[in-house]
């Protein structure tokens, strides 16, 4: 997030939520937003489903899955045409406005309406509301990113925020709500193929030298493989061993058949988890790990706030924390620097290698969380990014116009429906934890494929009828539930349930920049069983 939850919730006059089912995926943030709306803030929601948040919306844009760029550029067009942009901000803090304006100016709003399925008047209303109150915050999640055009979608959002001067100020910003408890921290600490901790590129000679020295090893300067490519590489014989920590790719990855095939071909599969997951079936070794309540450490939340977790109980049996396991394994592998006394010492090392975390220590975290960048022990942390300058060569924000491109797979006669996937309030990821919490399963014990009432009527389907969903990649059976929140031609499923695994169907096509798979759009067919 460019901003903090606090400043957005307290100061935004407009919330533009797109591709985020906030009430289910980030409930506590949704409380804050609903409170703000009660106090007079406006809300724009764009989503293929009439999600709960839409009930509170001033404008709800029910777009066709995968048409975000068209919608956002349409809004930009209205803002330009009606001169609702922030001239001072554009003049002083941006670059490339002319090109952007020219490109966007050439767009036909009605064509965008046609592509998105959202009436032009609604796009206009949304644009006016977004640009009409200051500050306005954009919030998004995977509905924006899990597309082959994910990067374009984000750039289009950034364009809107730049145009209206909603960057670098309280209550504004472009704010991806991160999905998992420490997805931000995993990125920050370098669990990515192309960067070291603190986003220092592996290809940067200085960084590479610094880490190679620190780790006493020769680290290649070529980025590694993203997860999405590792399994394909395994099928091609390039990857022979995979170590899976706290992850369940046999359920969560797109196009599951390919994943399991890959797992079977490898020489070594290690699974380290709390439970015997679906992926563990394919493992050679399974290691029992400690849960968050059984260890000390830190998480980074969606607003870059580093916070302490503390050991509350002992891990069961011989289970150990991942940290302890790696200390042992590192030593067994003969690697240097794996004899830590505990998490405090690891954090100290992170701070030494990642300048943005230099000021973060366990001592300070006792007083409360700290948002990085936190440059030294007196630095207060940085809840809002880009207050003074942007991370570009000139320090100015760049307008980057993009073109609308359709999703990788469009519905056709054979697969006439678009399947879009998401999450439920009551479950988390592949359900490893939530499905083992009695009450949560009581409240949501089974996955149903949601279809529109119109489609249900046309196909003669009633609630609880079983259908077979097929795509070019696989098939799955599930009960259906006709709902009014979907438009005709759209099917929705979550990916929490292995027995109705939506990822049997999904498309593993990637965004070329972010390598994120297009989980939000694939073509499927459904037939009654």
């Amino acid at each position: 997030m460019t901003n903090s939850i606090d400043d957005i919730a307290d100061e935004a006059k407009v919330f533009f939520i797109t591709g985020s089912n906030t009430t289910e995926t980030h409930p506590v943030i949704s409380y804050r937003i609903r409170r703000a709306i009660k106090n007079g803030a406006k809300l724009i929601v764009a989503d293929p489903r009439r999600i709960k948040m839409a009930e509170n919306a001033d404008v709800f844009l029910q777009l066709k899955p995968g048409t975000n760029v068209a919608l956002l550029q349409g809004m930009a067009k209205v803002i330009l045409d009606e001169k609702l942009y922030d001239e001072d901000f554009i003049k002083n803090r941006t670059e490339g406005f002319e090109d952007y304006a020219e490109k966007i100016g050439g767009i036909d709003l009605n064509e965008m309406a046609e592509i998105t399925g959202v009436p032009a008047e609604k796009i206009t209303d949304a644009a006016r509301i977004y640009a009409g109150s200051d500050p306005a915050a954009i919030l998004y999640t995977m509905g924006i990113t899990q597309h082959t055009t994910g990067t374009d979608n984000v750039l289009a959002l950034a364009g809107l925020a730049t145009l209206t001067g909603n960057l670098g100020k309280r209550g504004g910003g472009v704010n991806p709500l991160r999905g998992q408890n420490n997805v931000q921290g995993a990125c920050d600490t370098g669990a990515l193929p192309n960067v070291f901790p603190g986003y220092q590129p592996v290809s940067s000679p200085e960084a590479n030298q610094k880490f190679s020295e620190a780790y006493g090893a020769e680290i290649p300067d070529k980025p590694g493989m993203p997860m999405t490519k590792m399994f394909k590489a395994a099928l091609e014989g390039q990857i022979k061993g995979v170590y899976v920590m706290g992850e369940n790719p046999a359920v969560s990855e797109p196009d599951i058949c390919k994943i399991t095939e890959a797992l079977e071909t490898m020489e070594l599969v290690v699974v380290q988890d709390l439970f015997f997951t679906e992926t563990a079936d394919y493992a050679d070794v399974v290691l029992p790990a400690a849960s968050f309540a059984e260890k000390d450490g830190t998480f980074v939340n969606t607003e870059r706030r580093v916070q302490r977790i503390r050991k509350a109980v002992n891990a069961p049996g011989e289970a150990k924390s991942d940290l302890d396991i790696f200390c042992d394994l590192g030593q067994k592998l003969g690697l240097k620097g794996f004899n830590y006394s505990g998490a405090t010492e690891v954090m100290k090392e992170i701070g030494e290698l990642n300048p943005k975390w230099k000021g973060i220590t366990y001592e300070r975290l006792e007083e409360g969380g700290l948002c990085w960048p936190c440059l030294d022990e007196n630095h207060p942390g940085t809840p809002i990014l880009y207050g003074e300058k942007f991370l570009t060569g000139s320090g100015k924000a760049q307008f980057k116009p993009v073109d609308y491109k359709p999703s990788a797979e469009a519905p056709d006669d054979e697969y006439p429906f678009i399947l879009t996937t998401g999450r439920s309030l009551y479950h988390y990821h592949t359900g490893t934890m939530t499905r083992r919490s009695a009450g949560l399963s009581d409240l949501y014990d089974m996955e149903k494929a949601l279809i529109s009432k119109e489609d249900a009527e046309r196909l003669g389907l009633n609630e609880n009828d079983r259908v077979r969903l097929t795509s070019r990649r696989g098939e799955v059976e599930a009960e259906v539930k006709p709902v009014s929140e979907l438009k005709e031609g759209t099917v929705f499923m979550t990916f929490h349930f292995a027995e109705t695994c939506a990822n049997q169907l999904t498309n593993s096509e990637l965004d070329p920049v972010a390598n994120i798979p297009e989980l939000k759009v694939c073509a499927v067919n459904l037939e009654k069983v």
Binding site: R178, K240, D284, A343, S437, N515
Partner: protein
């Protein structure tokens, strides 16, 4: 600033403050039942009545005036307060022993303060409406015989999380906290966040597993990326409760259903307790040494045969920073950048 005298104690308090706030400032207890500092003021329970300049008013609503003289303990005030508490008790379930809130109940606290006595209570006609308990929610039940219609749950649902699944329904003595159609709460818009249960002053909303923790450990929720501060309640070596941490600036005590109630997995019997090695297609228990040696050998072997880039590491967005750091360190130290995690899912 206004000067206010409460029971002879003088204090200064800013304009707009209530008599209740002024009393709190000087440390004078005024009993309340329907008041909650997180929520808007209601004023229905009438047990906070005090005498301000000779007029009986509710302290929770009455704004202070400059020079106001407040008496919280006149005969008249005592009488009205006592009578109101007696009336609440008249239709309240008497069986405190079987109430999960016994000894932590605000109604008990207020009753003790106003001086409920059996002789007076013997004049009261008791009638507890025999409304069936709503046991539809797995985490908390609704016991209408212990509900005092303070509306705290309703205001919580509307003002804290904005769901407004419940509201007062029906009228007068039959007034009831209800969802659309007076149905079980499970069939409503309720998101089971449990914020109402936390604030209920009596046992009307009670946890189905009301274990009292022996100690609490501050931590952060393990579910979504919001990073809510929690207090893990522990009994023995078991996690029995999770509460929102009101001191945490991210959530200030708020939690969702997963964060508050989804902790069963920690104590779950299916937890892996020992390393397993697959031998001839079957997993067998192994010692840590065996398992780690096996892994180390295999990894070294692959590296030796195919190079370090034949290894891949899939880290986890659910593990800590320190663990992710070590994970990538381990792989990079082995000589490969093939490290990633599930950020994109």
């Amino acid at each position: 600033m206004f000067k206010v005298t409460i029971n002879g104690l003088e204090t200064e308090i800013e304009k707009g403050a209530t008599v209740l706030e002024a009393a709190e400032k000087v440390g004078i207890y005024i009993p309340t039942l329907c008041h909650h500092p997180d929520l808007s003021t209601f004023g229905g329970c009438r047990v906070c009545m005090v005498d301000t300049d000779g007029k009986i008013v509710t302290a929770c609503r009455a704004p202070v005036a400059d020079g106001m003289v407040v008496k919280t303990d006149t005969e008249e005030v005592r009488q009205v307060r006592l009578s109101n508490v007696e009336l609440i008790l008249a239709s309240h379930n008497e069986d405190c022993q079987n109430c999960t809130r016994n000894n932590s109940c605000r109604l008990q606290e207020v009753s003790a303060f106003v001086g409920i006595n059996q002789e007076r209570m013997s004049r009261i006609r008791r009638s507890v409406e025999p409304v069936k308990e709503d046991d539809s929610n797995p985490f908390f039940h609704r016991d209408f015989t212990r509900c005092i219609q303070c509306g705290i749950c309703i205001r919580t649902c509307e003002e804290i999380n904005g769901v407004a699944a419940i509201h007062f329904a029906f009228r007068g003595f039959h007034t009831k906290v209800s969802v659309l159609g007076d149905k079980p709460i499970k069939d409503s818009k309720c998101e089971s966040c449990g914020e109402c249960v936390v604030r209920c002053p009596t046992g009307a909303l009670y946890l189905t597993r009301p274990e009292t923790p022996e100690r609490e450990v501050e931590s952060v929720c393990t579910y979504c990326g919001v990073g809510c501060g929690i207090k893990i309640g522990v009994r023995g070596d078991r996690v029995v409760k999770v509460d929102g941490n009101r001191d945490n600036e991210v959530n200030r005590g708020d939690l969702c259903v997963k964060g508050r109630y989804g902790f069963d997995f920690i104590n779950h019997p299916e937890r892996l307790k020992t390393p397993l090695i697959k031998k001839d297609g079957i997993f067998v228990e192994a010692s840590w040494d065996e398992a780690l040696d096996f892994i180390a050998d295999k990894m070294s072997d692959i590296k030796a045969k195919h190079g370090a880039d034949a290894l891949g590491g899939i880290s986890s967005a659910r593990c800590s920073n320190e663990e992710n750091y070590l994970f990538q360190k381990l792989f990079r130290a082995m000589g490969t950048n093939n490290v990633d995690h599930c950020a994109r899912l």
